[in-house]
């Protein structure tokens, strides 16, 4: 069915107007990060292009250090989640044992508990373990993930049971079957989940705020908060340069994986 010309024009106009509105805050931050402070304060249009804000953001703050910390933390959480979720999903799909259904409901139940309801004891646990200002404290609490387990369970279910039976006859154990057959078949879902895990870890705010007290392992989100509160609204160019550095990795990841992420999340949400 062809779209009528008139409706096409209207749709394009709506799309352009909406895109403009949605993208303005981001666009403005990017433009401001290249502007001189004088242009920003006088509210004029950019009169010169300068990289000065970026230079100062990296010189006056350990921004690069924060970025590296964020990468390490996000990648660690991503890998931890993929391993734990795929192991658990394997058990729920391919292993039959007493209490499996009960454990499955227990996993569902974990989704009902907001992180904030357990944050106080968690903080004390981390403190007592000596994990404050350590990568362990920032990563390990997030390894277990019910949502990821469900997503992978849905995917593993599509692997024919006959394949497992055939591999059993061939004398293939569960660990080997998991590594050699299940993980390669579920590659797409694992990537989707990985991207999702990285995005959410990179953007985490409340927990890194509590679990870090110095620059050692502080992530870039808290670094940005620091930058913003120390600059006290004066140097908007530097603040925006910091914010642009924060969003670049996730935006790139999102642009590359948008389609996969959309399909993956919709599947996980609705099945």
């Amino acid at each position: 069915m062809r779209i009528p010309f008139g409706r096409k024009i209207v749709t394009y106009l709506l799309l352009i107007a909406a895109a403009f509105l949605v993208f303005t805050p981001t666009m403005m931050a990017v433009v401001m990060s290249f502007m001189t402070n004088q242009d920003i304060m006088t509210g004029s249009l950019p009169s010169a292009f300068s990289l000065d804000n970026y230079r100062r953001a990296f010189e006056q703050f350990p921004l690069l250090h924060y970025v590296i910390n964020s990468f390490l933390v996000s990648i660690a959480i991503m890998i931890g989640q993929l391993i734990l979720a795929s192991l658990a999903a394997y058990a729920f799909v391919f292993l039959e044992f007493k209490g499996r259904d009960f454990l499955f409901y227990l996993f569902i139940a974990t989704m009902m508990v907001p992180f904030e309801a357990s944050i106080i004891p968690n903080f004390h646990t981390i403190r007592d373990l000596g994990w404050i200002d350590q990568y362990t404290g920032l990563t390990i609490p997030f390894f277990a993930m019910a949502f990821g387990t469900f997503l992978l369970r849905q995917n593993f279910k599509q692997i024919p049971k006959e394949l497992r039976e055939a591999s059993q006859i061939a004398g293939m154990g569960d660990v080997k079957f998991y590594l050699k057959v299940v993980l390669p078949v579920a590659k797409t879902s694992l990537i989707t989940l990985g991207v999702y895990g990285f995005l959410t870890s990179w953007n985490m705010y409340l927990w890194p705020l509590l679990a870090t007290t110095n620059d050692n392992v502080r992530t870039v989100q808290i670094g940005l908060r620091q930058l913003q509160s120390q600059e006290q609204m004066n140097d908007w160019g530097v603040i925006m340069a910091g914010a642009v550095i924060v969003i670049i990795p996730t935006l790139i990841l999102l642009f590359l994986g948008q389609k996969k992420l959309q399909r993956g999340l919709t599947e996980g949400a609705l099945k």
Binding site: M1, I3, K8, T11, Y12, L14, L15, A18, A19, V22, F23, P25, M28, A29, G43, L84, L87, L95, E96, F97, K98, G99, L103, L106, F107, T110, P114, E116, A117, S118, I119, I120, P121, N122, F123, I140, P141, A144, M145, D174, L199, N203, Y205, R225, Q228, M240, A243, V246, I247, T250, L251, L253, L254, F255, Q262, R263, L265, T266, A269, L270
Partner: protein, 312 residues
């Protein structure tokens, strides 16, 4: 002859039962081993802390978090009598009311116009989903500038149109709205992406047969799109509500709970009570109340949703 068969069968059966039991035991151990990492972490960082929060909510604590005096329901009673906490609950519910419907309506509109098969539509989809890649901290910083009283973009626009400048983040009657606007903008990316996925999974055949019957654009929207999208909408509404109750970062950067506690949303209130006032007992009581509210919301959503949602 018949006797012998019986004996063998009996022995066989015993062996069979033993092997089967052994195998079942082995299967159980194997299952547990696969699940052990997840179960261990859930126990340490989810189930134990949840129970511990309930326990703490009945005590007073010292600054290190150790319990000192058992006070029973006192923490809860004090909370419900405290005007600051009442304000916090009220602000939180208002905030949910401001953010959830608008997030859904805007995202649905964007998803519908981005679902047309037009040239360059991929570009628009990318733009609309872009806010999903922007962290709370970055988004809050963007809007902190937009809301800036003198050099902020919004007040410059107000000025250009000859309107009075607004103290977006300093006026108690505007601050919550400002935080809500920031939140809606942040939510759009994710909600849009999920709704677009839902739209794309609707059977094209439905539209084709409606076209044959000569149905108009809005008729199709009302009679096909919205009903077929209802499971996705239902999911998105639930997630958005739960997220709204858990708002923290925007408040921390934009307003720190002020002015006059107007934006002191529940999670921020818990954070302040626990980690600046060191009142872990009272903070735990608030956390339990938040937990119950979210739990109730989820249950109500599911009960209402089941009835109204149209599943394929």
């Amino acid at each position: 002859m018949t006797n012998m068969t019986a004996v063998i069968t009996q022995e066989d059966q015993a062996l069979f039962v033993r092997t089967k039991r052994k195998q079942r035991y082995k299967q159980f151990i194997k299952g547990i081993l696969f699940l052990l990492p997840s179960i261990a972490l859930f126990s340490v960082f989810l189930f134990y802390p949840l129970l511990r929060t309930i326990y703490l909510s009945f005590f007073l604590t010292d600054a290190s978090g150790a319990t000192t005096v058992f006070v029973g329901w006192d923490n809860f009673v004090t909370l419900f009598q405290s005007t600051i906490f009442q304000q916090s609950i009220k602000s939180t519910f208002l905030f949910v009311l401001y953010t959830v419907p608008l997030t859904i309506v805007i995202s649905l509109f964007l998803a519908i116009i981005a679902n047309e098969k037009l040239k360059g539509i991929g570009f628009f989809r990318t733009i609309f989903s872009s806010t999903m890649g922007i962290s709370v901290a970055a988004a809050s910083v963007f809007w902190l500038y937009l809301f800036h009283p003198t050099i902020g973009f919004l007040n410059i626009i107000m000025d250009t149109f000859g309107l009075e400048k607004v103290g977006w983040l300093t006026d108690p009657s505007w601050a919550l709205i400002a935080v809500a606007v920031t939140t809606i903008w942040m939510n759009i990316g994710f909600t849009f992406l999920i709704l677009l996925g839902g739209l794309q999974s609707i059977d094209k055949y439905l539209y084709e047969s409606a076209d044959v019957d000569g149905a108009g654009y809005f008729y199709k929207l009302r009679r096909i799109t919205i009903p077929m999208l209802s499971p996705t909408l239902f999911f998105v509404v639930t997630v958005t509500i739960i997220n709204a109750f858990q708002t923290f970062g925007q408040v921390d950067i934009l307003t720190q709970g002020g002015p006059q506690n107007a934006t002191n949303l529940m999670v921020y209130s818990i954070y302040r009570e626990a980690f600046t006032n060191y009142q872990f007992g009272s903070a735990s009581a608030q956390a339990i109340i938040l937990f119950i509210i979210i739990l109730l919301m989820t249950i109500i959503q599911f009960k209402l949703g089941e009835r109204k949602v149209h599943y394929q």
